[in-house]
């Protein structure tokens, strides 16, 4: 096992474990904390994939901004913080567990059957100027999705204001 594989396994365990802990957490605040673990695992995976810039952005934005914002939002909402922690599982958990495990089994089976036919990049791309390449891609090939993303954010902002603003 190479060092890379070891890091991959550790990061995946961190990610999946945190995700499981998040969905089974009894308090929303604790769930939000576990989410940070998942985000961190994703950041490590990005770095392993030679996408260091994305890894850093993942930490800065997802952990530094989004997760912290969610924690603040939960702490500032009295109805949520005042609640007693709910039950860990609802009556539907066995069904959900069966569905999730079946899906996981199907996916693993597929990945195994596809074997070595996966389309894998011919060589590692030149990563020294990753951010430059990313910026160029956003302004050329991916200009349209980039602009659509800004539309999505604007609409989400308007929607949030309309739905929650005091009248």
């Amino acid at each position: 096992m190479t060092l890379e594989q070891g890091i991959f396994i550790l990061a995946s365990l961190l990610m999946l474990g945190s995700a499981l802990a998040m969905v089974t957490a009894r308090s929303m605040f604790v769930a939000a904390l576990w989410m940070i673990g998942t985000f961190a695992g994703v950041a490590v995976l990005f770095i392993l994939l030679n996408a260091g810039f994305l890894g850093i952005v993942q930490i800065l934005i997802y952990i530094g901004a989004i997760a912290v914002l969610i924690l603040f939002a939960i702490m500032l909402t009295p109805d949520v913080m005042g609640l007693k922690p709910g039950p860990r599982y609802t009556g539907q958990w066995p069904l959900a567990a069966v569905m999730a495990s079946t899906l996981a089994a199907v996916i693993v089976l597929l990945l195994v059957r596809a074997g070595n036919d996966w389309h894998i990049a011919d060589a590692a791309p030149n990563v020294t100027d990753f951010a430059v390449q990313l910026g160029e891609a956003f302004m050329t090939t991916y200009l349209l999705p980039f602009e659509v993303a800004s539309g999505v954010l604007l609409v989400a902002l308007i929607g949030a204001l309309v739905i929650v603003r005091d009248e």
């Binding site: 596809a114 894998i120 090939t141 989400a156 739905i163």
Partner: protein
């Protein structure tokens, strides 16, 4: 990589007009204090009409190109642009009075109506999985907000919440399907995916087992938008809770965007797997129309009835895609049947929702039993309802008949007799619940002291347009058949290297 801006702005003219219009409406809303000012809806109308004109000009002049590498400005896109913007125009006409009476945020509503139309148009033209996903999310997120617009109405909140939760899960599944396809082919461009699978099978055997599961995941996401069974559970609650004009938009605009994506993904990216997806579509189509019709039989709320009815309609439309055959002549190719059906469905289903809006605006009720005696309270409204219901049931001389004929014709031409028989049986069942409403209107006495149902001029205009459209397609279908024949061209796969 150079971008030719003149070409790009020409190819994306309808999208640019919608975006600029939506931004200007937002700014005007800040400047204008009066919520009932006609400037905002007037400007929204202007933006929609100009975008509609640009799309029509593209279709007539036969523009067929790719804009910004990812947006296919081909006849199929022009068709769905016209369909989406046309829906928004009719919905805008009935929204003005409805929203002013119920919400303080009228300016934002008009702006979001333009944004959601833009999303429909982008979805229809997306030629790349990345743009497809983003446009799909754009459409979904805008729709969640619009469904939950009536913030003091618990059912509106419930509808929006259910829509959001179902949407989040199905879009995650769809994303997973996309990542499988990308992992297998190394590209996100739809035609390049198709080209990849022209490589001889022996070289990539393992990957063939990826495609069908990826397709199932994709179908979950797209089926959610079209409200195919079993991804339909959100629809009745969302339609019931949403402001009625928004429900009209969801049932037509958003649904036709879903069909555009489905057509593109299946016909552009996966033509090599047609025998697989045909059988999937046949099963989904049968489930969708049968369940939609059977549950619709028991509804007592007009909006829920229309929700189940539009689920069933999605099943009929899907028959056309199931019966797709690439080389067939018009209209046996299936795709043109889908297009004809969608035009008929636009006028009919928006029309019946407009009728429901008018009734709700006048009486405050959406219960079917309250429609009793409508013939005495507004003969004109009752008569248009009859035409719309005839069309939904697929009876002549209406648009729905032409649409069903085209789809059934393609199904029989393809040899899917079983599917065609199920479709006909379902149409018979649907007559029962459509005519139940008509029976209420004509043969039940109006309640004591019931007043005449009045409609504002803009709603009356929207009703008249839908009414004329529904009958026109029924009596004189040639121009609409030509439209479908012109629009069935799309960017097809190029051979690899």
């Amino acid at each position: 990589m150079q971008i030719n801006w003149a070409d790009t702005s020409f190819l994306l003219a309808p999208e640019i007009l919608l975006t600029v219009g939506a931004l200007i409406v937002l700014v005007l809303d800040l400047l204008i204090e009066d919520d009932t000012s006609p400037v905002l809806p007037g400007f929204t109308l202007l933006a929609l009409v100009s975008a509609f004109g640009a799309a029509a000009a593209h279709l007539v002049t036969g523009v067929d190109d790719v804009a910004l590498f990812m947006f296919a400005a081909d006849p199929l896109t022009h068709f769905f642009r016209l369909l989406g913007i046309g829906t928004a125009l009719l919905v805008l006409l009935v929204s003005v009075n409805y929203v002013q009476a119920r919400s303080k945020h009228t300016g934002e509503f008009y702006s979001l109506l333009l944004w959601v139309t833009l999303a429909v148009v982008l979805v229809a033209g997306a030629h790349d999985l990345i743009l497809l996903y983003l446009a799909f999310e754009f459409l979904s997120i805008t729709s969640y907000v619009l469904v939950g617009w009536l913030r003091d109405d618990a059912r509106s909140n419930e509808g929006a919440m259910k829509y959001l939760l179902f949407g989040a899960i199905s879009s995650a599944l769809m994303l997973y399907g996309m990542s499988l396809l990308y992992g297998a082919t190394g590209t996100t461009r739809l035609t390049e995916i198709a080209a990849f699978f022209t490589i001889p099978e022996t070289q990539i055997t393992g990957l063939y087992s990826i495609v069908v599961p990826a397709l199932v995941f994709l179908l979950a996401g797209i089926g959610f938008k079209i409200s195919l069974v079993p991804f339909h559970q959100w629809a009745p609650d969302a339609y019931e809770g949403a402001p009625t004009p928004v429900a009209a938009f969801l049932s037509v605009g958003s649904k036709s965007a879903g069909f555009a994506v489905l057509a593109r993904v299946l016909l552009e990216a996966m033509p090599a797997f047609q025998e697989h997806w045909t059988s999937l579509l046949v099963v989904l189509s049968i489930l969708t129309m049968t369940l939609g019709n059977l549950v619709a039989l028991r509804q007592t709320n007009m909006k829920r009835l229309l929700a189940y009815s539009s689920i069933a309609q999605a099943g009929y439309i899907l028959m056309g895609l199931a019966a797709y055959s690439a080389g067939a002549t018009f209209p046996a190719d299936g795709l043109s049947g889908v297009l004809i059906y969608l035009v008929a469905y636009l006028f009919t289903n928006v029309g019946v929702f407009i009728g429901a809006v008018i009734f709700e605006q006048a009486t405050g009720s959406v219960a079917i039993s309250d429609y009793a005696g409508l013939i005495r309270r507004s003969p004109w409204l009752a008569f248009t309802f009859v035409v719309f219901f005839l069309s939904l049931a697929g009876l002549p001389p209406t648009a729905g008949f032409v649409g069903k004929l085209a789809v059934f014709y393609a199904t029989v031409a393809k040899g899917l007799y079983f599917l065609a028989i199920i479709g006909v049986l379902n149409s018979v069942v649907s007559v029962y619940y459509y005519f139940n409403v008509i029976r209420q209107m004509f043969f039940m006495p109006a309640p004591e002291g019931a007043e005449r149902v009045r409609m504002p001029a803009s709603m009356g205009l929207a009703l008249a347009i839908s009414f004329v459209g529904t009958l026109l397609i029924g009596f004189y279908p040639e121009p609409f058949l030509n439209l479908a024949n012109m629009s069935r061209d799309f960017i097809s796969a190029l051979p690899l290297l």
